[in-house]
Structure formats: C-alpha cells, structure tokens
Symmetry: C2
Subunit: 228 residues, 2 copies
Amino acid sequence: MKILITSGGTTEKIDQVRGITNHSSGRLGKKIAEKFLAVNHQVTLVTTASAIKPKKHANLSIIEITDVNNLIETLEPLVKSHHVLIHSMAVSDYTPLYMTDLAEIEETNDLSQLLTKTNKERKISSQADYQVLFLKKTPKVISLVKQWNPSIQLIAFKLLVNVSKEELFQVARSSLKKNQADYILANDLTMISADKHLAYLLDDTNAYMAETKAEIADLIFEKVRKND
Amino acid sequence: MKILITSGGTTEKIDQVRGITNHSSGRLGKKIAEKFLAVNHQVTLVTTASAIKPKKHANLSIIEITDVNNLIETLEPLVKSHHVLIHSMAVSDYTPLYMTDLAEIEETNDLSQLLTKTNKERKISSQADYQVLFLKKTPKVISLVKQWNPSIQLIAFKLLVNVSKEELFQVARSSLKKNQADYILANDLTMISADKHLAYLLDDTNAYMAETKAEIADLIFEKVRKND
C-alpha cells in the first residue's frame, strides 16, 4: 500500500529572515512512518527542514516543504497517487501580508487598504518601538484532500490546548465530518510531554485511546490495515 | 580560555502552538565551536532546540534557550564568566503582544490601548479572515554584553539582505561602535548558499574576507587567539 504521511510544522515568511512557525517536532510522524516501513509499505513523508526524520529506507521517500502554498502544490499529486494520508503536520492557519508601524495605521481611514500592501524591503527595519503585522487566513489544506482523491483513506489530526475531553471530541468530530476524514486523532497540548502523549483516535461513533506516541502509531496502523 | 558562542535563532511565542522565528541553522556556530574545541578551549554553546549542534566533547557545554528573555537570563552570568563571546545567534527583534481581528481595531479610537491587551486563549482562534498582530521591540541583547563584562572580547554579527558592500560595512561598523564590539562579522543573506558563505570580519579600520563557513571560523579563531 502507498502511505502518505505529513509531519513537522509549516513556516510562513514575514521577510527573508523571519517567519511564523507552527511548532511540531516531527516525532509522531517519524514513528508512524517507521511502523509502516517495518512491514514494507511504500511511505512518502512530506515534512519540514527542522523536523526529526526516520532513517533512510528503501521504501521511504522524504519531501521537504516550507509554507502552506508549497504544501498544497506538493500534496495534490501525491494525494492522487496514494491510498492513505496521515496528516500529522501542523499547518499555519495565517500568513503575513504586510508589516508596518502604528503611525501608518493611525493615518489610515480604511484598514482594508493596508491588506493590499506588501513590504518592499527584504528585511523589515527594526527601528519602531511597535510593529503591526497583518495576516490572512491560509487555505484549509485538509478540506482539499477528498476533493483531490475521494477514495483516499484520510487520517486527520486536531490539536487543542487545555480544553475538556468533551470539547476536544466535539471539535474533532466536527472537523472529521467537515473534511470527510475517516479518522481524526484528537489531542491536547497540555497532555503531551517528553514520554507521554495522550490522544484519542475518533471516528463518528468510536474513540480509541493511546497514551504514548508509539501507541498512537500502533492505533493508526491497525485502523489503516483494516481497510487494506 | 573560556569561549562563549551563541547559535541558532530565537522564537517569540504568539500562543502555545505558534511563534515568530528568526531562521538560523546553527551551522556556523557549530563550526566555530569545533575550531576552539580542537585546541582544547572550554566552549559554552548557547543555542536553540532546532539548531545543528557539535558532537559531544569533554570541553563543550550546550545550553538551549527559546526566546529573548530566556536568552538574556541565560547569557548574563555566562558573559561574566567567559573571556570571549562570539554572538552568531539570530535574535528576534520583535515579540508578540496581542493578536486580534480587524473589527476590534476599527472600533478602537486609541490604538495604544491594544498594546496593553493580551490574549487569554492558549491557542488563538482561526475563524476571522484577517488577523492583526501587535509586536513590541525586544531589548538589544548585544548592547548589554559590555555592561555585564567590560573586559570580554566581543565578536558581533550583522546580517543584511541584498545591500551593497558599502552599506553592509557602514551598518556593521556603526553597530560595532554602538555595542563596543571588538569585531563584527558582516554578511548578506544573498551571498550565502549551501557551500558558500561570503563574509567580512571588520574592526574599526580593517576588513578580512572569508568565502566559506570554515574560513569564517578560521578568521574568528585567529583574531581571538591574538588577544589570548
């Protein structure tokens, strides 16, 4: 089977030296990849430069991406040619449009004008005491997957921070439905530490609990094989 | 001699999952550290989680930091106890204060009110089409070094993007003077690629050119030994 896995976190550039990054070590994606490689599935890992990666393996291709646009370009053909997508990457939800100082905002009657501006300089000056950064929502990559390939098995991920189990399940299942995912791995940042990673693999009706990254990889591996 | 080296790039948190990062691989700091370790100097490397690091060595201590506040806390005692600081880290010049949508800005008469607000939520919602992030200038770490230890030998770094050699030298020498650095390594991002790294080590009157990271490490090593 051809398994597509994403890991790491995208970075949206502010200028040539600064960017907004979604933190994600890549550790979970690495574990999942290794699980499938161990039984000789074909694995394509789409990840980022700073993410932790599996060792070289004859059945593993690694593709590095940077930002959301780059991710979409890269994923579209891959989603069409794979049987499963396990989308553990932390994808930026906003991308920088324009950075300026407070004075320019105070002088502007119609803020929407600033949304059409771009910074000409390659490294934005650091003179002003305060700066204001305008950001625009990025396309939701996960919502495109089933449009690209309706028959791909999609394992989505939802990370929240410090919410109740009820809220986590509710938000994750709403995302599951909206994006036509087959499963969604719901987790809370406050429940993740060096050696623990509490998570629930959800479908419409069931919830399967895991307490470590290895258990999460096991759970996902089992569910994917069931549809094999 | 006790050599303090910084490498990598700091990240200023927007919320628990997003941050503004200054990109820096840590490769140059690694090379410089290895150069001094090879002749048994004592090296302390202050760096970041994602930076590339030297191999373990009996004379090497590695300390990981995250943001500018964390860097300042960490550096102050170290600057006081070392003979040389080679400050190659890319340090964030702005840190997030408050993120909101366009509507709140349009409703606010006095923008300075927004500078005193903070986001209560741990992961800022991604509903609005546009967001606005207010940022505040961080303290200039480099300007504190000689206040902490007037006798430390300070090698500063200045990275610009796509400027003339004249402008690069002028900006770097102005920073050299302002921060009482002994040398400053002036370089331009457009002159750095996988195997090339054009840079100039400047003092008040001289400029020494290097064309690779290894040559930069050699140059800095020589200048530091001269003051030994």
